[in-house]
């Protein structure tokens, strides 16, 4: 049984990663960063974990360094945020194409401009098609649990893909929360040693990341797509095992009071807990409201989403990023496309909320439910709106 403690979530994530026997971490200190990097550097400097801490001159170099280290068979970790993730962007599809099981924490923050760096999801959304497994934490406990699980999922022989754990910047990373930290023995029991699919070693030379022309590029992309899709089975197995070992179960899609709900809201990340309070308020008023929380973003859990929303009349999808000039927020367009062919599906509404760190309080989530319920002519269905924008 792990120890119960109060700790800043970013520090707790670094502590959790410290339990995972990492061989190296490469981070750049401010582009912007979180205390994950800072505390990992403390753990290494204090001799508490036996790992190389590589200080690099940019996030591009940080991702390059973890790619190189992972290629040698080292369990490699990095953390970033906002502009730093944008600078890593070029390397992300390379890490997944080379099937290197890197894990990375993303303290989700807004992308410039204007310079902002407060919490939203505009940093992760442009990385959607990089071929990384992507999960979203709702609270501090999930942030540390998902961080430990990420190594096991990434390094599974049937997966061998990088994983990013999305943790809302500030709203989660900078909060002190009550957490249950697994013990070293528990993590040792859960997490087997990393067995790479190939390693860079002079004794047995291999080439990683070789050139490929049009006669092979399509086949390589197909193989990568299948690898990402197939990772879901392992993700489910690892989450089941975690539930048995630690008593906290994880599913690709979580629901709250959704079974008999007429109107559902979908959230991703930390705002789920606030929206949950709004659902309780509406239930008290006799409205059959419910919540769907999307934890697994890639591979996208089509079957679970369909099952979670099929009986509702209306579904409000919240997005924390903008697809400028596009069909709506990125989560909205994916949900819409996932449900497009289904004859029995709810009308889908989209609110873009909480951009650049703007708070969305319980009464505002309740307000979204009320506004959609009031749309009896369904005129706003299939459209998107910037919630709370000043006209």
């Amino acid at each position: 049984m792990g120890k119960r403690l109060g700790m800043e979530v970013a520090v707790a994530v670094a502590e959790a990663v410290g339990l995972c026997n990492i061989d190296m971490a490469a981070v750049y200190p401010i582009t912007p960063q979180s205390h994950i990097a800072e505390h990992l550097s403390d753990l290494v400097a204090d001799g508490k974990i036996d790992a190389e801490f590589v200080t690099v001159e940019s996030e591009h170099s940080a991702m390059s360094a973890v790619i190189g280290a992972s290629g040698t068979g080292a369990r490699s970790y990095t953390a970033t945020s906002s502009q730093g993730l944008m600078l890593m962007h070029e390397l992300l599809p390379i890490a997944s194409a080379m099937r290197l099981p890197i894990t990375m924490a993303i303290a989700n923050r807004a992308v410039s401009g204007p310079l902002n760096i407060l919490n939203d999801h505009s940093d992760i959304m442009p990385q959607r098609d990089a071929g990384w497994i992507a999960v979203f934490a709702e609270n501090g406990q999930e942030a540390i649990d998902l961080s430990i699980q990420a190594f096991k999922i990434a390094e599974h022989k049937d997966v061998m893909l990088p994983v990013c754990v999305n943790i809302d910047g500030f709203q989660l990373t900078h909060m002190v929360e009550p957490l249950e930290m697994p013990t070293q023995e528990e993590v040792n029991q859960f997490l087997p040693p990393f067995v790479p699919h190939a390693t860079l070693h002079p004794a047995k030379p291999v080439t990683m990341g070789a050139f490929a022309m049009s006669d092979y590029f399509t086949e390589i992309m197909k193989a990568k797509d299948e690898a990402v899709k197939n990772s879901k089975k392992v993700i489910l197995d690892v989450w089941n095992e975690w539930g048995k070992l630690f008593g906290r179960s994880y599913k690709p899609v979580e629901t709250y009071k959704a079974d008999d709900a007429d109107i559902l809201m979908l959230t991703m990340g930390s705002m789920g807990e606030t929206a949950q309070m709004a659902v309780d308020e509406l239930r008290d008023r006799g409205v059959k409201a419910g919540l769907v929380k999307l934890r697994l973003w890639r591979p996208f859990p089509f079957a679970e989403i369909k099952a979670a929303v099929k009986n509702a009349k209306k579904l409000i999808v919240t997005d924390r990023a903008v697809s400028f000039g596009g069909p709506g927020g990125p989560v909205f367009s994916e949900i819409k496309s996932a449900l497009f062919a289904d004859t029995q599906r709810p009308l889908i509404y989209n609110y873009i909320i909480g951009l650049g760190g703007r708070d969305v309080a319980v009464n505002e989530f309740a307000g979204m439910f009320e506004k959609v319920l009031a749309d009896t002519g369904n005129v706003a269905a299939d459209t998107y709106e910037f919630w709370g924008v000043r006209e």
Partner: protein, 92 residues
């Protein structure tokens, strides 16, 4: 060479056989080829030095020629050849 299906690719497309790049004949990319005029050639070897593919070889008589399995026809040898002994001609 039979092309592999996506299912047959090694994980991460790791190339496990060192030096196997020589099996890939980059000469198939070529649209133009270099022709040496040995009357002008002074055997300085600058074409050998500058060839990015490493496919220019010196013959026993001291003159140079390209291994056409690998020559991409980039023309760098002709550009660098200061006695103007190399000309680039269209393939086919």
């Amino acid at each position: 060479m039979t092309l592999k299906s996506w299912k047959e690719l090694p994980i991460g497309c790791v190339v496990s056989e060192p030096g196997s790049a020589s099996e890939y004949h980059t000469g198939s990319w070529r649209a133009q080829r270099p022709i040496w005029n040995n009357d002008k050639c002074i055997k300085c070897g600058i074409c050998y030095v500058f060839c990015p593919e490493g496919c220019v070889q010196q013959s026993e008589d001291g003159f140079f020629k390209a291994n056409m399995d690998y020559c991409k026809g980039c023309g760098i040898c002709a550009h660098e050849c200061w006695p103007r002994a190399i000309t680039i001609v269209e393939e086919g």
